[in-house]
């Protein structure tokens, strides 16, 4: 058999293997249960998780104040459901997972950007690339952040020890990029200016790559 024929055969074998794997996985999906068999009609709905998680957690007054609850998340369970939730493995696991998921994100931090209008296009491109790269590389240690429809950057981050006017910088590969100015009050920094034009949505920014320090720090 010549080299071309061998190569062709190898491609065919590889394609067949891929198809076999795809078929196998498709069948796996098709034969999976329609839902978690341990989840019963009495179990918590997703929209009830936050309300119950907060009510049953041992939160400090500050933590309760920082926890955002909207009308949908407030929950009043009937007695039998409340009893079920206390005993049910699925509900308890879900509550534990809910509390653990992004536990570093109870306080809401938004970043006020006064610099964006002065950024040259190259700097915007650079920031866009960095944010995308960080979203990929830093998963697991990241704080959820996103740009809303108006291009305003939102981020939630607990445990900031600084207060008052702050500078927020993005650290990447030893370079510090001034990102924003703002004021931290009880862990919350209000957005006052949007960051349109970056074209980035739903990023997860590593906390260790953000530096927040008092405005008057050297």
């Amino acid at each position: 058999m010549n080299a071309d024929a061998e190569g062709e055969e190898s491609v065919v074998a590889r394609d067949r293997l891929t198809r076999l794997l795809e078929d196998w996985f498709r069948e796996e999906v098709a034969t999976s249960p329609a839902g978690d068999p341990r989840r019963t009609p009495l179990c918590l709905r997703f929209h009830e998780l936050s309300g119950v998680a907060e009510e049953t957690a041992n939160l400090s007054a500050d933590e309760r104040r920082y926890t955002r609850m909207n009308a949908e998340e407030r929950v009043q369970l009937s007695e039998d459901r409340a009893a079920h939730v206390r005993e049910c493995g699925w509900c308890q696991r879900s509550l534990t997972a809910y509390r653990a998921a992004d536990a570093a994100a109870e306080a809401s931090i938004s970043i006020s950007v006064g610099l964006e209008g002065q950024w040259p296009p190259e700097l915007r491109d650079c920031l866009r690339r960095w944010l995308k790269k960080m979203a990929r590389q830093e998963h697991g240690q990241a704080a959820p952040a996103h740009f809303d429809d108006e291009g305003t950057f939102h981020m939630r981050w607990r445990g900031l020890e600084v207060g008052g006017p702050v500078k927020v910088s993005l650290m990447w590969e030893g370079v510090e990029l001034p990102l924003a100015h703002g004021v931290v009050e009880q862990g919350t920094l209000e957005i006052t200016e949007p960051m349109p034009g970056l074209g980035v949505r739903n990023v997860e920014v590593s906390q260790r790559l953000l530096r927040v320090r008092p405005e008057d720090a050297p």
Partner: protein
């Protein structure tokens, strides 16, 4: 506009089989896969404000999280091995009376995948089934691109030899 609770429940119903199958195929353990799949949806519910359908489908959004979570589970297992985890626990379709060659092939594929290490299995499935790029696999699995390529290549080589041995 964040996903409403009602819409999220619908998406949960629609995508649960996929997420469960993904977790089970990576973890090779039914109960652990149930836990992992449940955790994926709880995490996604909590992060619902970050979901942007213009950027990624819900399927992509939950699948990526499932991959990440399985990597975490496997790392934890590496630190504290689970004596009950059995590689052969990977499922394969039951071979019934009217079985076709394709279903026999799927049985063989399930058995062959079960013989890979969890890491090899995940890398192969991420690349061959989910279609992630080398860069994406490397970033998610905490590997270099070369390591990701090497892992997939080795996994495929083993799979091929297992399947040849099984007459597929």
């Amino acid at each position: 506009m964040p996903l409403s609770g009602e819409r999220f429940e619908e998406l949960y119903q629609e995508h649960w089989p996929l997420v469960f199958a993904l977790c089970r195929s990576r973890l090779g353990n039914h109960d652990e896969a149930l836990d992992a799949a449940g955790e994926v949806f709880v995490r996604k519910w909590r992060a619902r404000h970050t979901y942007d359908p213009a950027r990624a489908s819900f399927r992509t959004w939950v699948s990526r999280n499932a991959e990440h979570l399985c990597i975490d589970y496997l790392r934890r297992r590496a630190v504290r091995p689970d004596p009950e985890e059995l590689p052969d626990d990977l499922p394969a379709p039951e071979a019934g009376g009217g079985e076709s060659a394709r279903s026999l092939d799927r049985v063989a594929v399930g058995k062959a995948l079960a013989r890979l290490t969890p890491r090899q299995r995940q890398l192969v499935l991420m690349h061959e089934v989910e279609g992630y790029t080398w860069e994406e696999i490397a970033a998610m699995a905490g590997l270099t691109v070369a390591q990701a390529r090497g892992g997939v290549s080795k996994g495929l080589e083993l799979l091929r030899s297992f399947l040849l041995g099984a007459g597929v």
